[in-house]
């Protein structure tokens, strides 16, 4: 884009001389004012890159023009070169005092004028770019700080949540042990009842173990990948075991039934411990977000589907279907992020620390698999897919 130069000169002959010199370069657009006030208005109205300013003008003098333009354009200084017959040092000094960037006394050589114009426009461009860069970097630094503060806040909330989530199974274990003691002290203690208690204590301890392992995986994320041990496993049995762990909670807290339809599901090469975490997280989420008295259904099917980021297209798909609050549309993309709880989480269940689906996705990725939301609501369907090789 051509730079625009404003010539402020009341004598038309002088103007023509300057104009002709500038035109030699063929890279400047020229505007013209013959009065001081007009020059000030022109600067307001048009983008001006440089001003060639005569000092002796009919209305206000060049010094005043320069002063006013500078005070109006503090941030975006327009370079002003005084052009005048005044050769007195004091006059020159005054020109610099009011904000002029250069001073040319008549007579001057056309090459000198062109050189100075070119230099000052380039310098001013550099200054403007530098200023933009500083502003950009300042903005980036401020944004980074806000982001860090938000991350910190999320982390603090996460710690409070996770402590609460860990205290819950401990509470369950302690009261069960207390109950067990009290039942033992009775003369007519019932063996089946006792067995139920210590079995459920063992289950709670396993759930607690997986809660801790999930936490550990988050730490791994920052340093290195967790260690996976792949073996052929009976997935059917694994889902069944997780179901047993969580069924009492589903039943007692919300009268929820968990049903499985897993016919045809073959053994798969998986990390037993990690995939157990996947099942526990998905079933627990389904329980937490379900309405009372509803059903959770887990079923298997073989699926053919192409994904952008996978070379596989035949899948073993396990669907987890539940009816409850559903996943709000606005959560769809964020729900797999770390520490991100569903935005409706605290309304129905005041728990959940926001690591469940993040972990599920991560573990499924390590199995070349997927975790996807098939349906947000009525019912909510979340699927995990293992590639069929």
């Amino acid at each position: 884009m051509k730079a625009t130069i404003l010539i402020v000169e009341d004598k038309i002959d002088e103007y023509n001389v300057i104009r002709n010199i500038l035109d030699l370069e063929q890279q400047y657009k020229v505007r013209y004012s013959n009065k001081g006030e007009d020059a000030i208005i022109a600067v307001e109205k048009f983008p001006i890159d440089l001003i060639l300013l005569d000092i002796g003008l009919p209305d206000i003098d060049g010094y005043e023009v320069c002063k006013r333009i500078n005070s109006n354009h503090e941030k975006n200084n327009i370079p002003v070169i005084f052009l005048t017959g005044k050769t007195n040092v004091r006059d020159k000094a005054k020109g610099f005092d009011v904000g002029g960037i250069d001073y040319l006394t008549k007579p001057y050589h056309s090459l000198e004028l062109l050189a100075r114009v070119k230099t000052h426009i380039e310098l001013n461009d550099l200054r403007k770019n530098l200023q933009k860069e500083v502003e950009k970097q300042t903005k980036e630094a401020v944004n980074a700080k806000i982001e860090a503060e938000n991350a910190n806040k999320l982390k603090d909330e996460f710690i409070v949540q996770i402590v609460h989530e860990m205290l819950s199974p401990l509470t369950e274990i302690l009261h069960k042990v207390n109950r067990f003691e009290n039942l033992l002290l009775r003369t007519n203690s019932n063996k089946t009842e006792l067995e139920n208690y210590y079995n459920s204590v063992k289950n709670t301890i396993f759930l607690f173990k997986h809660l801790l392992l999930g936490l550990e995986s988050i730490a791994f994320n920052k340093n290195k990948d967790p260690f996976y041990i792949f073996e052929m496993e009976n997935i059917h049995n694994m889902i069944f075991d997780c179901k047993i762990l969580l069924e009492p909670k589903a039943h007692y807290d919300k009268q929820i039934l968990i049903e499985t339809y897993l016919k045809g599901l073959p053994p798969l090469r998986v990390d037993h411990c990690k995939i157990t975490q996947v099942f526990i997280n998905l079933i627990r989420n389904a329980i937490n977000y379900s309405y009372e008295g509803t059903k959770i259904e887990i079923y298997y099917k073989e699926t053919e589907e192409y994904f952008k980021n996978s070379k596989y297209h035949i899948w073993h798909e396990i669907k987890f279907e539940n009816t409850g609050t559903g996943i709000p549309e606005r959560d769809k993309d964020d729900i797999f992020k770390l520490y991100r709880r569903g935005s409706n989480a605290s309304k129905l269940i005041p728990s959940g620390a926001g690591i469940g689906l993040y972990l599920v996705k991560k573990i499924m990725n390590a199995h070349n698999g997927m975790c996807i939301i098939r349906k947000l609501d009525k019912p909510t369907i979340i699927s995990i897919l293992f590639p069929k090789k």
Binding site: L167, L170, T171, L174, H175, N178, N182
Partner: protein
Amino acid sequence: MKKILFIEDDVSVLQPFYEDLQETYNFYVNWIKKAEEVMGALEGDIYNAIIMDIMMPVPESWTKDEKRRADYGMTTGILLFQKIREKYPEIPILIYSAKEGIHMDELSNYIRKPEQTQTIVDKLKKLMNDEK
């Protein structure tokens, strides 16, 4: 037999505690699992004490402002405590919660989960001035 109102939504976790309160410690316990049913239960019977949780789903019937003050479930029990206190200034209340403890008033106590059933019962008896 002392009558206790037990306010707690986490059924699977507290079921054995509830059974012990009744069978081992001989309290009559009315277990209320939803915050919205608490005031009705208190109107329908006279209780010697209350054991209650803090984090519970907020009743749908509460106003928008109340839901906000209850932090959408994080502190439902605190608001519920105040509602109970307004109508029943004399009733001892034991808060049993996993949340960080706060002091409510002279007639209440706060125990952080988990704690031995025996210890909870001792504190409850102390609150009811029934230490024998």
